[in-house]
Symmetry: C2
Subunit: 341 residues, 2 copies
DNA sequence: CTCCTCGATGAAAACCTTTGAGTCGGCGGT
DNA sequence: ACCGCCGACTCAAAGGTTTTCATCGAGGAG
């Protein structure tokens, strides 16, 4: 008998070695209950001895499941990916999906071309589901994905109708309220806000939290808030605009740590002491930023790792056809006090 | 006749609509030459009309090719992933692989557990090849991967024997020579070096370039170099060590922009003007760092996008069984002059 | 007119797994 | 002694594609 020396063993080989049929071997691998202890033992031994690994393609062909999940980042501004936040999300996704024994297929979508490719790919049935990160207003990709018969979990609220969509969001509004209330409790009376770009819902939610904590109407809010675009430089500029508009301000809630770092610089250049003259609260509690500003930044923590983990779990439930209690999950945020407020 | 309304069309459907056999349709899809113009036309029309997409699993089953490539980052220190460099590499990989119409399966390897999982996965034949980023000394993962019958292209030189390995490296040594020669040409006489951690080959190569440009032996080098660990904080510390050891130093070549940013801070705190008193050259030409230090940083540019692109092309050649002229590729580095030197 | 060649095409095997239908004892109930 | 049932198992089909081999027809050479 000729031994094919390098071919990978198939289920047939395993079955032969265990003295059972292919079907029984398959049932053992899929943890079917209808199998005797002896058979189970024999098959497991054979699997181990042969170093057998199921052929994913064959399995996918018959089960119509690929065992892969797409992770899609839609972001028109490719440079934003230098944002360490992005790296964190990817890392968390890789870990959570690996734990679920699912392949992670990463897709970065920048251009309309990329959108078309993503569309083809997702519609092509090459993955069982998708995790979608698409924070921007009227993102075409979301409308595309929405039409697909594919289980999808979104990170945060995508723009537009949320009917029937599954998502895991951070409590941006609640966090903003937390931050603002904290500033009020410090006795600050002239509190201003550096917001994120208002084509991102997370920025809007944070702005809304700020407004509601101070009972501001739109007109009132317009005077004491300024868009910092979620960049450090934008934070600097917004802060200096606010300083000139309201010289007597004594506290600022900044919608991201990166912008807060910029705002701190502006404040210090203007001769304001933090926190004595102006108290500052950021958002994100970004490790490599918040702890290294001077003074260290008080910030609202949102746990991206946790968010991604929940997204993966949620998607896995959808894939297993489990009924999910709620389509939307909201993750709590907490205030982390350091020295800036 | 019942029409299954939502099932995805198969090659059979395409063939039927085009009035040819499945075999011919398949040939059209795979650009086989042995097919008549009429058949080609008809099949293409049918494909288009039906929105047909080949079933990847079925194709993989018969061709023994998965159409997927693993991108593996081995990095014991998970926090390093906050490094924007990492995000750049991932982005470049995603783009290049998508252009090659290959699925990118991302694997992050931190622990021995992760290594075992990576081993199983790569050995399991779930991908056609791999791109491996493993900069550290004696990385177990490299020995594991080396034994696998799997085409692999490394980023930079992995530690250990390089026999038969395919890799795309940046010319770290050449870049370091460039930087050091530049400092010499400015008339600087007391040039020191903040190196990266010496368990990374790229750091060693840069150190070697520095040494050879100054004709230093090991002993001489030991006095004028200090390990900054590729972190900002490490750069600060190394710089202050060097300052106290050689107060009269008038130039420093720093092995990364991040460390250079730290070094700049230390220098300025010590009252040294840059570049008047001390000239500084970094390495990486990292957009978001080099351009935003004060003064803007002169730096050696290494193009990660280009590196990853070459890695992907190289791997694709291996997968197509093309003979590659050289197993190792070295990418040039250039000096980008700004104001710090 | 016959034979041969050659290019285009079709029929069918092969890839490996899951799964529904069917087989085969053994066992409890009558 | 028979029936029905049940659990463990096997058989074989199905899933969608590529690819080898055979076939078929046309056209050129003799």
């Amino acid at each position: 008998m000729v031994v094919s020396n390098h071919a990978r063993p198939t289920l047939e080989d395993v079955a032969a070695r265990a003295g059972v049929s292919r079907a029984t071997a398959s049932r053992v691998l899929n943890a079917s209950p209808r199998v005797s202890p002896e058979a189970l033992e024999a098959v497991n031994a054979a699997v181990h001895a042969l170093g057998y690994q199921p052929n994913r393609a064959a399995r996918a062909l018959v089960t119509r499941r690929t065992g892969a999940v797409a992770v899609v980042f839609s972001e028109p501004e490719p440079k934003i990916f230098d944002d360490p936040h992005f790296a964190r999300l990817i890392r968390a996704g890789a870990r959570a999906l690996a734990d679920a024994d699912v392949q992670m297929v990463l897709m970065l979508v920048h251009s309309p071309d990329d959108q078309a490719r993503a569309h083809r790919f997702l519609a092509g049935g090459h993955v069982d589901g998708a995790l979608v990160f698409a924070p921007h207003r009227n993102d075409e990709l979301v409308s595309i994905v929405k039409k697909l018969p594919l289980p999808v979990v979104y990170a945060g609220k995508p723009w537009g109708s949320l009917r029937g969509m599954h998502l895991v969001d951070n409590d941006n509004e609640g966090g903003a309220v937390l931050a603002t209330e904290h500033l009020k409790s410090l006795g600050r009376r002239k509190i201003v806000h550096v917001s994120g770009p208002l084509d991102e819902l997370s920025a809007i939610d944070r702005l809304n939290g700020f407004k509601s904590a101070l009972s501001l109407d739109d007109k009132g809010a317009a005077r004491v808030t300024e868009d910092g675009g979620f960049t450090r430089e934008g934070g600097r500029k917004a802060m200096s605009v606010l300083l000139s508009r309201i010289p007597s301000l004594d506290a600022v809630f900044v919608a991201s740590d990166l912008m807060a770092a910029g705002a701190l610089e502006t404040l210090q250049e203007a001769g304001r002491r933090v926190p004595e003259d102006v108290a500052v609260v950021g958002f994100d509690d970004h490790a490599t930023i918040a702890e290294h500003t001077s003074p260290p930044l008080t910030s609202v923590r949102q746990d991206s790792d946790e968010q991604v983990k929940h997204m993966v779990e949620h998607l896995m439930k959808l894939l297993r056809d489990e009924t999910v209690k709620s389509k939307k999950q909201m993750l709590p945020t907490v205030l982390v006090r350091r020295e800036s407020a």
